[in-house]
Symmetry: C2
């Protein structure tokens, strides 16, 4: 209702009122707001005092009309994986002393939905966009980067020119996992990957797995299964692996909660972990650490990834055009699921 809306909006202090209260021009207040050049300390103090006194808060819509909204868009694939909480912690730390805010959107690991979310973020004038675990093509990403500063986390494209990337070295992470399993005495090592729209992280992890297997002289038993994120699919794939003719004695899973489900299936089939089958996950989320789970996993420093991505996107907003690709080394955290 127009009337209700009017009532709701009224009471909001505008830049004009602040200017009047401080006895300066509207533009001067705007300069203080934006930390722009050409403001004396005295004037700044006067304006700040008025803003505090009146409880002034700039309206993002109005700012967006000509300038920035001071809002960053963060797109994540889903809310079920607690790994993203680590990234978010890093993002928030990076934003601590700035006037930027984050708004999150969920792509549900679907590139169609992801496109929708990103477009809606562009419509809402996000100053920059951080895309986690994107499944979009280089061209799509370039199209986005044309419109807004863009940084991806978990998307390998070291030759991308128009947007920055932040990654852990997924290939090395998978390699660490395989080496660890080999060292623990496992030899028939399978990998459980993600089925669906191709993702560069998965490609890297699969490549690392292959390299690890070949390096250990196990090239002949390379065995990559895959399943969607739906639990029924995961169970089905795990059963097929564990009941098939080439039953593996260890499984490297692309992410932790898949690994936990695989442990469940193995237990139901009467297999002991780690004696009969070793399991390794990825992301080292908090659930790995519970005594009853105790899952060996690869840590990729989510907090650092979030921090760096935020730094990069703000640099882009401030005018950097040279591309930057940040990579952090992974680290294996051994737990009971591979300790035989």
């Amino acid at each position: 209702m127009a009337r209700g809306d009017e009532g709701r909006r009224s009471g909001r202090v505008t830049i004009r009122e602040v200017a009047e209260d401080a006895g300066v021009s509207v533009a001067a207040v705007s300069k203080v707001l934006r930390d722009a050049y050409g403001v004396s300390d005295a004037l700044r103090a006067k304006v700040r005092a008025s803003m505090d006194k009146l409880g002034y808060r700039p309206l993002a819509s109005a700012r967006g009309m000509r300038g920035q909204t001071y809002t960053l868009g963060l797109v994540l694939p889903d809310l079920r994986n607690p790994f993203f909480a680590d990234i978010m912690t890093g993002v928030n730390n990076a934003l601590e002393r700035t006037q930027y805010q984050v708004m999150m959107g969920i792509s549900s690991s679907s590139s169609k939905l992801e496109t929708g979310v990103v477009e809606s973020m562009i419509d809402r004038q996000m100053d920059g966009i951080i895309l986690i675990g994107s499944t979009e093509s280089r061209e799509s990403l370039n199209t986005i980067a044309e419109k807004k500063p863009l940084v991806t986390i978990g998307h390998h494209d070291p030759s991308a020119e128009d947007f920055d990337t932040v990654n852990n070295n997924d290939q090395q992470g998978a390699l660490l996992a395989v080496r660890h399993m080999v060292a623990a005495g496992y030899s028939k090592i399978a990998m459980l990957s993600l089925q669906g729209e191709p993702s560069s992280i998965l490609a890297e992890r699969e490549m690392g797995y292959r390299r690890g297997m070949i390096e250990a002289g196990l090239g002949g038993t390379i065995n990559i299964a895959s399943a969607t994120q739906v639990m029924r699919d995961v169970q089905f794939a795990a059963r097929r692996l564990l009941q098939g003719p080439r039953r593996p004695d260890a499984i490297f899973c692309w992410t932790d909660f898949i690994a936990l489900e695989v442990i469940s299936v193995a237990t139901e089939l009467g297999l002991r972990v780690p004696e009969d089958v070793g399991i390794v996950g990825y992301d080292n989320t908090m659930y790995c650490d519970f005594a009853q789970n105790s899952l060996t996993s690869i840590d990729q420093s989510g907090e650092l990834l979030g921090l760096q991505a935020t730094r990069l996107v703000i640099e882009r907003i401030n005018g950097r055009t040279a591309v930057e690709h940040f990579v952090v080394p992974p680290r294996l955290v051994a737990r009971r699921s591979t300790s035989r």
Copy 2:
């Protein structure tokens, strides 16, 4: 940089261009956009065609200046608890066929940060706000509700007049948990609650626990411990409970992942679950269902909560002023952690 920004913005199709292309007035296009009264089918079709042809997308900032932004703000306490994914699913389902989008913010279970996030959402002209697990006072919530349509999830205040609430019956949930434990043969039942800013959900769950204990004639052994969400605190509290003089033979935990940590601590202390100590969680998140966790929990239909909250906030946006309080009954899901 101004130049870069200009380049970024250029190329965006405005309502004026659509109007010109369709050979109608700007206001007519606006009406089509808003499904407003006074547009013939022929005109609507013509305008829609032009919008598609030119790839027009309305700019939220500009819309926000006078009308709506068609954006809903959703504030959640943290990203670690997969329960919120269920709520989000419900929200997205409810928004499926509308032109609304959701933007999420994180309050980190701190009422100071929550205030900041909510204010920033008001600055960004969210049409309505859904607050999950708020720790704010009635007055603060009323202040928000004065400015924007507000619905809370997980905040009990059945006499609130200015905003709607959506809840499961937490008191009954806790009661179900205690009854289940008593029926399973446990008698020294403790509760592990959340330490920190007082929350009405916790108050309800504690009350349900008390009622259940008294009902079973165990009023004399009521024992409520509490810990923050930090894992070290949880471990400390769990150890103190399990090593203390009045060692309980069952613990009801306020949320699942706390329960999982308590199982870990119990295991480390050489106690068997469920034989020596029974454990019940709350929320029935996916991690309960893993064979090695197998945690008995209370299900509160997160998806339904999200759906209803979204329905209510949109009704408010469309002018409803009468308050509505929605409550869904909880359901106990028994698993191995209490089956002795």
